[in-house]
């Protein structure tokens, strides 16, 4: 698929950036589970934290194809950095832009656009929170096990059910310094160690109606709207992980000599490389097509779901194969493929698991 000149320029710029700036520290960040703050700061200087925010609010108003290419390139080197960027754009800034009051937009979006604040998102399927109403206010008790960008300074978006029924969701914006909010457990996931995922606990945390994004019980609509964009972003990250792992495995297979032969000469290795690169190419076509549909204001939801489903599961398969090509070395933390493998697992289940997303695709396809 031909990209236009603008996209190619962006792609080249990010490729260089990832190699020159991100690559050096990626292992250290993963090992120490440190939030990739410096990378994000540099990306914000490039305007990429305001990718979905319009220019009049200080954003870059990047088109979807530009955003997915950005995430793909970063993920080839550090998927955590890409996930922070994607969360901030698609799961934080975008719902505010689309459904927030003018007041909330004015308060948060200009700061979000420059990266002054980095926003987070609490996964809607891992809420274990009880809500009590007290007058106008809502009192939250419990925990969310999977808050993206929890280490960042900005607020987070959380979707809760006031009625207890799953379909009646309400989106809320929560400042992290609200009394009763505590980050309890970092480093609680298999991968994406530098993305600042953590469990957040709520202890008599009081929220007022001004925290609501959109209206009460509008959450399901908001969720559907943001999931489309989020799925494109996650597909892009999955694709980048797959490409990064395949590039590494290919390089290794050319260098590794066994039986007096570079192992790339062996049929079972070649077959893996062929499978891996075919899946990457297919995933890329699905993703770019879906992104371009969104940019053309066409219905892109089925395409986005397919792209996420395909590239998410492919990333798990491809990174598994990448470790296998490395053999024993692939199992060691000295080599990058085990990190790609762990990161792929996270992407594959975020914003709809394969089981859920197949149901979404079936539903769209049938209607």
């Amino acid at each position: 698929m031909e990209l236009n000149q603008e996209c190619t320029l962006l792609q080249n710029e990010l490729k260089k950036f990832a190699q020159q700036v991100i690559l050096d520290k990626v292992d250290e960040l993963d090992k120490t589970c440190s939030f990739a703050r410096d990378n994000i700061k540099k990306l914000s200087e490039m305007g990429l934290l305001g990718a979905v925010i319009p220019e009049d609010m200080g954003g870059a108003a990047l088109d979807t194809i530009g955003l997915v290419i950005t995430l793909e390139e970063i993920s080839k080197v550090c998927a955590s950095t890409a996930l922070i960027t994607a969360t901030h754009n698609a799961l934080f800034a975008y719902p505010i832009l689309k459904f927030g009051s003018d007041e909330i937009k004015k308060k948060y979006l200009p700061q979000a656009a420059t990266g002054e604040i980095i926003g987070g998102y609490a996964d809607v399927t891992t809420n274990e929170i009880e809500i009590k109403k007290e007058g106008e206010d809502y009192i939250l008790n419990g925990r969310n096990l999977l808050v993206l960008n929890s280490s960042a300074n900005g607020p987070l978006i959380i979707l809760l059910s006031f009625s207890g029924e799953k379909q009646n969701l309400t989106a809320l914006l929560v400042e992290k310094n609200t009394t009763g909010i505590k980050r309890v457990q970092k480093n609680n996931t298999i991968g994406m160690k530098a993305s600042g995922i953590a469990e957040i606990a709520f202890e008599n945390c009081t929220l007022s109606p001004t925290n609501i994004i959109g209206t009460v019980n509008e959450g399901a609509t908001i969720l559907q709207e943001i999931l489309g964009l989020a799925q494109l972003c996650l597909a892009a990250i999955a694709l980048g992980i797959s490409q990064g792992a395949t590039d590494a495995a290919l390089k290794y297979a050319k260098e590794r000599i066994q039986f007096n032969t570079p192992i790339i000469e062996f049929g079972m290795v070649r077959e893996k490389i062929a499978d891996m690169s075919t899946k990457i190419e297919a995933g890329r076509l699905l993703l770019y097509d879906a992104a371009m549909k969104r940019d053309a204001k066409k219905d892109f939801r089925t395409a986005a779901a397919m792209a996420k489903y395909f590239s998410g599961t492919a990333a798990v398969e491809i990174t598994t194969s990448a470790i296998q090509i490395y053999g024993g070395y692939g199992y060691m933390k000295d080599y990058p493929v085990e990190r790609y493998f762990r990161d792929a697992q996270v992407i594959n289940v975020l914003c709809s698991t394969p089981v859920q997303i197949k149901e979404i695709i079936a539903k769209y396809t049938i209607s």
């Binding site: 096990l145 996931t189 298999i190 053999g327 199992y331 697992q345 996270v346 975020l350 698991t353 089981v355």
Partner: protein, 386 residues
């Protein structure tokens, strides 16, 4: 499924499960996180008689049956494959002594291995000799009544933990695989030290280190079996051990399957036909893996002469099943699946090694195919002769 285990086998299975649930389950997160070798647990396994199952009766063991080993490995790995690897590495190291050592060597080591007093490891792999086993560079030079070992062994399970190491070294480079010999090296011998300790994706309770030999003098009584037979011993040892690796994979699969089924049931996901199909598939695959492992173990224990191919079957299929089951378990649990709290992410990390260690599944398949080609060649020759 009922495999009509003997009473002894049932007792062993029950005992292995009890010990593991009591001792390993409460600490498995800590062992994984801190990459801590379960020394005390393995000692207790010795006291409870789990170490003597891989040692022959005449040396204080309880029979050295592959079937017993498979039963124990599955049970331990169902809770923690790291501990199962720590456990099985001992058997892998003892194997060559059991099958090929001189009477004196057997008497010297095996009774103490059976009680857990001595711990064993197998030193084969090197940086340039992974799948290409015969390419080992470690040398053993004859000097008077001794051999002088030089070289570095890599990725050795229980390296630095074990007391006794069966080490493969080349006594005659010009003879290639036929110039490789096996030595019994004890911890503390001058010139024998430990190098890098690996930081691994999974089986983190099992310690993996380099063995370093710098002019390490090994007395002639520590040459194991016959000179030049080391490669053969190695292959034969792996033929015996591969079903155990399959059983570790099976245990991981079983553990992940139970966790997934439990989660699906509690969260009412089993009403979804897509999930029903997958869970049914996994149940079938796990049972097929178990049936295959048991059949191969019974075949070996019944005195089969050649079981190299079948032993590979019993490693390749279960380890692929373990990856499919654990990968799916994460998908099914969704965002919960990637959380350490729910344990399946550890099972996935652990499962990956079973496709790699003791010969990658690619090498196994290549060896199986070679055997099939050989069989076809024999058939075709027989056809011509008739």
């Amino acid at each position: 499924m009922d495999y009509f285990l003997t009473d002894e086998e049932k007792t062993l299975k029950e005992k292995a499960r009890q010990i593991t649930e009591k001792l390993v389950l409460p600490v498995r997160d800590k062992l994984d996180e801190k990459a801590e070798f379960p020394t005390e647990i393995v000692k207790e396994m010795g006291r409870q008689g789990l170490l003597k199952i891989f040692v022959p009766r005449e040396y204080g063991g309880s029979g050295a049956k592959v079937m017993d080993m498979c039963i124990a490995c599955e049970e331990v790995a169902r809770i923690c494959a790291g501990v199962a690897t720590a456990y099985a590495a001992n058997a892998l190291g003892s194997g060559p002594i059991i099958y090929f050592a001189d009477e004196d060597q057997k008497k010297k080591y095996l009774p103490r291995i059976a009680t857990g007093e001595l711990f064993c490891a197998f030193g084969l792999t090197e940086a340039q000799a992974g799948s290409d086993v015969a390419n080992i560079q470690t040398t053993a030079r004859k000097e008077g009544d001794s051999h002088i070992l030089n070289g570095v062994k890599q990725f050795i399970s229980s390296g630095s933990i074990a007391d006794v190491y069966v080490v493969l070294a080349s006594t005659d480079k010009s003879r290639g695989a036929r110039g490789i010999s096996a030595f019994i090296v004890e911890k503390g011998m001058p010139g024998f030290s430990f190098g890098k300790e690996e930081n691994k994706l999974g089986i983190r309770a099992s310690t993996t280190t380099e063995l370093v030999f710098e002019d390490c003098r090994v007395p002639k009584e520590n040459l194991m079996g016959k000179e030049g037979r080391g490669f053969l011993y190695t292959m034969r040892n792996f033929d015996h051990s591969r079903p155990g690796v399959g059983a570790i994979a099976l245990g991981i699969a079983q553990g992940a399957y139970e966790a997934a089924l439990d989660f699906a049931y509690k969260n009412k996901l089993l009403e979804n036909q897509c999930i029903q199909k997958k869970i049914a598939d996994l149940a079938i695959e796990i049972e097929a893996a178990r049936a295959l492992i048991y059949a191969v173990a019974r075949m070996i224990d019944s005195g089969a002469k050649n079981f190299s191919k079948e032993s590979s079957f019993a490693k390749v299929f279960p380890s692929d099943v373990a990856m499919r089951v654990t990968t799916y378990a994460i998908e099914l649990l969704g965002p919960y699946g990637i959380l350490k709290e729910y344990n399946v992410e550890k099972m996935l990390r652990d499962a990956k090694i079973t496709q790699i260690y003791e010969g990658t599944n690619e090498i196994q398949r290549a060896v199986i195919a070679l055997e099939l080609i050989r069989e076809m060649g024999m058939k075709s020759r027989q056809g011509k002769e008739q």
